[in-house]
Symmetry: C2
Subunit: 477 residues, 2 copies
């Protein structure tokens, strides 16, 4: 047997094996979910290492040559499986996932501890898996590993050569990724990357994500007086950094929801009329999307649909403000400093560096006397888009249609997956973005969940995608 000649019954046995192994698969996922691998918080550094080891063990166990590779930040998990004998050059894929998760706070809004994974019953979806990382990205990455496990258990082989890269800094800007790809690019380079960090169109309709917004972070700190002041003894004459910060943040958008940083939209590439027409044809349920999060009106730029606001328009969001007294009760203080954490979602054409430079100038220009600004964070990644007619995209499309009974919808995604841009710019490698998350998985929020059905059918989908990828004639592409 080799990659291009897998008979249909071979896939059938893999799908049967997945069904047979379901309970054990869930146990393996729970083991990973129980590790509080919050990469952004130094207190959880050891947990990140533990999660990396857990992933590497899972790969080794099923026959991958796997290892945990240290970085200056969180370690990388790298694994390879290569066919010993092939009739011709096989397709090679690089699967990417991340074992780190977002901080679970606000903790009090979880109905159960975030790192104590459990099954629950959802009135809409039936059984769901609840834990931080259930969907983003531990549940998703395990769908792929379980698919590989079933193939290897059943046939001792995978239909294509597979490398796996699981990072631990996706939720904190991936600072180690660029140096790691620079050092290990040769080892990791494949024909295409498989990235399982995206979602479906809806619970019954698969999707392939063909464009992603980029991302730039900045932490802006305004400093006023040389120390915290009593707001009675100094209030009035003393510059209050919280007020300065509020004024700057308020100025970020105009009354049409447009970002007011000069030049911010200069490099924005508009979607093609055909793309816009395709989006309109999707019949996206704006009211349902907004209603699901307790909202009724799109808050983005006037004149753009919700899908356009999400897929083709950049944003400037305040992700957090820290300044003054935040504890219970009151404190009559004028703080010396106030900080805002900002992130910008970027669309094709925009450069993170230019956007941050523009932000810095914008802030500096708005500073009143006695206030100064400092900035942290120069990371970022531009937006990306892919050719959806490439063979691997069409192969995945066939596999998803076979599993779900309808073809996948080609979508954009408002979120950023910096690795996708890095694969393209550093390894000249496109990515196939297939995932089984749903919009209401509450990723980054309390009570994050992954439908048990997403987990099961996700693994089945990957088993099928591997088969279809194995059927691609590499010499012809």
């Amino acid at each position: 047997m080799n990659g291009s000649q897998i008979p249909a019954p071979a896939l059938g046995r893999v799908l049967d094996q997945l069904a047979h192994d379901e309970a054990a698969a869930l146990e393996r996922l729970f083991r990973l979910l129980a590790i509080p691998s919050v990469s952004t918080d130094p207190a959880h550094h050891e947990a990140c290492i533990e999660a990396a080891e857990c992933c590497a063990e899972a790969l080794s166990e099923i026959g991958f040559d796997a290892r945990v590779e240290p970085t200056l930040g969180k370690p990388m998990v790298v694994g390879h499986w290569r066919a010993k004998v092939r009739e011709r050059a096989p397709l090679r894929v690089l699967f990417y996932g991340h074992y780190d998760v977002q901080p679970p706070d606000p903790l009090e809004e979880w109905s159960a501890p975030p790192f104590d994974p459990r099954l629950a019953e959802d009135p809409r979806y039936g059984t769901i898996i609840v834990a931080r990382g259930a969907s983003d990205d531990k549940g998703q990455l395990m769908t792929f590993i379980e698919a590989c496990r079933a193939w290897l258990n059943e046939h001792g082989e995978l239909p294509v050569d597979v490398s796996v890269l699981i990072e631990g800094e996706e939720e904190s800007g991936s600072p180690s990724l660029a140096p790691f790809l620079a050092a290990h690019g040769e080892e990791l380079k494949a024909d295409i990357a498989l990235v399982c960090d995206t979602g479906q169109w809806d619970a019954d309709t698969p999707a392939i994500t063909a464009f992603l917004r980029g991302l730039a972070f900045s932490e802006v700190t305004i400093t006023g007086p040389s120390r915290d002041l009593h707001s009675g003894l100094y209030g009035g004459p003393a510059c209050n950094p919280l007020r300065v910060l509020a004024e700057i943040l308020a100025a970020l958008h105009d009354d049409q929801g447009r970002i007011a940083i000069p030049g911010f939209y200069d490099d924005v590439r508009q979607p093609l009329p055909s793309e816009l027409a395709a989006w309109r044809a999707l019949g996206f349920d704006e009211a349902g999307f907004l209603g699901g999060i307790g909202l009724s009106e799109p808050a983005g730029e006037t004149g753009f649909s919700v899908l356009e606001q999400l897929w083709s328009r950049p944003t400037a969001e305040i992700n957090g403000i820290v300044g003054g007294y935040g504890g219970p009760g009151t404190k009559t203080v004028i703080p010396a400093h106030a900080t805002a954490k900002l992130s910008f979602r970027l669309v094709p054409g925009q450069s993170p560096r230019r956007i941050l430079d523009g932000l810095h100038r914008f802030v500096e220009n708005l500073l009143p006397a006695d206030a100064s600004a400092s900035f942290k964070g120069d990371g970022g990644s531009p937006a990306v888009g892919f050719d959806t007619q490439a063979p691997a995209f069409r192969a995945a499309s066939r596999a998803l249609e076979a599993e779900w009974g309808k073809p996948p919808i080609i979508v954009g995604c408002g979120a950023s997956i910096p690795i996708v841009e890095s694969f393209r710019s550093r390894l000249d490698m496109d990515a196939l973005l297939v995932g089984f998350a749903l919009d209401d998985d509450r990723i980054h929020s309390p009570n994050e969940k992954y439908n048990l059905r997403s987990f099961k059918k996700g693994a089945r989908s990957w088993a099928r995608i591997l088969a279809e990828l194995g059927a691609i004639d590499v010499s012809a592409t």
Copy 2:
């Protein structure tokens, strides 16, 4: 001996006794400073009770009839000393202080633990006492108790009848004060209140504070989506409460530094031309005042001097903002809620209730679609001013001049002491505000200090004031 017939040598012996007892007095102060009685934080409730007991013991020890009286919040300390025999009706004073302190955060900016009091050497002031509460108000209130101790040790009597009220909620809005004064007004009513929670003009010049700004608090919470959201998956169409809050906070002031809440200035009473002239005559060092806190330009309303901005103009200050992710690193979240802690300093004529009502309307009017606002805090106290020609004021003035070699300056204070307004409105009692704090005592800030000289000369000043008050002919006033 009675209150009206204290011979000068009697006072001299009290001052000698203070000098003799200096080391023990400092030990007693340190014992109180070591108790972390942060009233605004429920975690320190027990410490507040301990501080109350410490104060009551100090009073009992020197002969007061003292007790700790529970309230729904932090307990009150009440103590009385009455002359057994008097030739005629003595003046009766009520001394007020507070044993609670501000939260010590940011802790990392303290050079030593805030509740581990210590002496340090200051290049400008010599020996200083460093601890949270060293100046505000434990150090100050102990100057009075030490003065009483010396009088009682030396003569077995005080020149006037003295009641003491020490509360534990001054730094958290004094919620228990009104019901306590309602229940114990008869017991506490005196001819005048002595309040030691203010400062000197400078290190060598005493001051009597004759007007105080009022205060109103509000905590404004903006709610947008029904849960925290991923800023990539929802950024753009989703209403961000942090942005809504920033826009509302930025709108609080116009570009002249005036507060933009409609009607905010309607009831403001302007100072008299004579008062303004007296302030100008003080030769206040604006550059020095601002330079001491790292600033160079007054940030208050255009067209008013620093003293006017502090003493006669109301303010709206942001004391804290809490919303979104505040930990290390980044989190791409759009939070469901964002909160600002606001306080308003009020001047004579303004009603805290009307100001808060105006704020609420102002915020409601600025809410965009899908955002809602809720408000906490309806406490507050109006501004107050006193007749500086009353006998007790003149008596205190003579005493301070004797101790410091120059007459006290009559000043205003930008801060609020709600008790002063309560004494006036509930007990029809004026207050004599004398304190020995300095502008650079860093009250409410890290590394709070009280000069050792302030502590010593403060006690001596009170010893003299008690003597002068004893000389007032009560029947004539």
